[in-house]
Amino acid sequence: MARIVLDRNRCKACYLCIDACPNKVLCVDDNVNNLGYYPVKIDIEKNCVGCAMCARVCPDMAIEKVYK
């Protein structure tokens, strides 16, 4: 099953990945991370198809790995 590995403490809350994801896998977390931002979190993991769009648009390389 496709999935992503997310490093929530590198996310700076630009949310470009949420816009880029075609299947609405990601959403905003309610808890702050070490940097003081509200990072993204994985909402509906079963929708992930492993297209890696989120990883390609992330300016902070917060998405470590994408599996398909």
């Binding site: 999935r3 809350a13 390389m61």
Partner: protein, 251 residues
């Protein structure tokens, strides 16, 4: 069976620090350069030259040797490195304020000499690190801290179109202007960066890529609005495309 389709490039340090503001395209640009170094297998013999500006922190990001040049002098420093160590791959990573303003003489003359260097220029139409002053590429009408009523051509001149200027130089093998506003344009940008490195590997001359980037903090926009601006008024003035390509002809 799971298949790994993406991972962080090995040319990025494991304990890398991204010092850029949220939503800044610099982070994508450094990742693309690192991915290209990985794919071409150049990491062990690459020397980078950082400039003054937001790109100054390259040594915290790239897992290659980085030399820090004086303001605008990256191409001159890269020339020295490449001539003393011709078997190394040398690239410079500069902003538009560094390359097109204080460093335009070094840039043009290094390219006129046909130095085998790859140059990545981040064009965000402003001086990002120092607080958003007007730079050489600031668009007409753009409000910055030094053009508070918008850039006026009578007093501040016109934006400098770097790619159109540099493509005329004979020593340059590859010139392209790309943007990073969507996954598709990011993939195109990676192809262009790869070509610019191939120009150096094949010894054809200088490879130059101008990347239209965002500066959400100084443009006072959200990252999403900043990408809209890149797609809109910035792409009208700075038209993306491949301006010169001796690499494909040589292959």
């Amino acid at each position: 069976m799971e298949q790994l389709v993406y991972k962080r490039p090995e040319s990025i340090k494991e304990d890398f620090k991204i010092p850029f503001c949220p939503g800044c395209d610099h982070g994508v640009a450094v990742r693309l350069v690192a991915e290209v170094l990985d794919e071409l297998g150049l990491r062990e013999k690459t020397i980078g030259v950082a400039s003054v500006g937001c790109s100054v922190c390259s040594y915290d990001i790239f897992n290659v040797d980085i030399v820090e040049a004086q303001h605008g002098r990256s191409m001159a420093v890269a020339t020295g490195i490449k001539r003393s160590k011709p078997d190394k791959i040398v690239f410079t990573y500069q902003g538009d304020g560094d390359l097109a303003s204080i460093g335009i003489a070094e840039t043009i003359h290094a390219m006129a000499r046909g130095e085998k260097i790859t140059t990545i220029c981040i064009n965000n139409t402003t001086y990002g690190m120092t607080g958003g002053q007007a730079g050489p590429t600031t668009l007409l009408g753009q409000v910055t801290t030094t053009t508070v009523n918008g850039r006026n051509s009578e007093t501040s001149g016109f934006p400098l179109k770097i790619s159109e200027l540099l493509k005329e130089i004979d020593g340059v093998a590859y010139v392209a202007r790309v943007s990073l506003d969507s996954p598709k344009s990011i993939m195109n940008a990676k192809k262009s960066i790869k070509r610019a490195f191939e120009a150096q590997v094949k010894g054809l001359g200088t490879g130059f890529v101008e990347i239209l980037s965002t500066c959400p903090t100084n443009w006072k926009m959200t990252p999403q609005q900043a990408h809209e601006r890149v797609r809109g008024e910035m792409s009208e003035v700075f038209v993306p495309g491949v301006y010169k390509d001796k690499v494909s002809e040589a292959i």
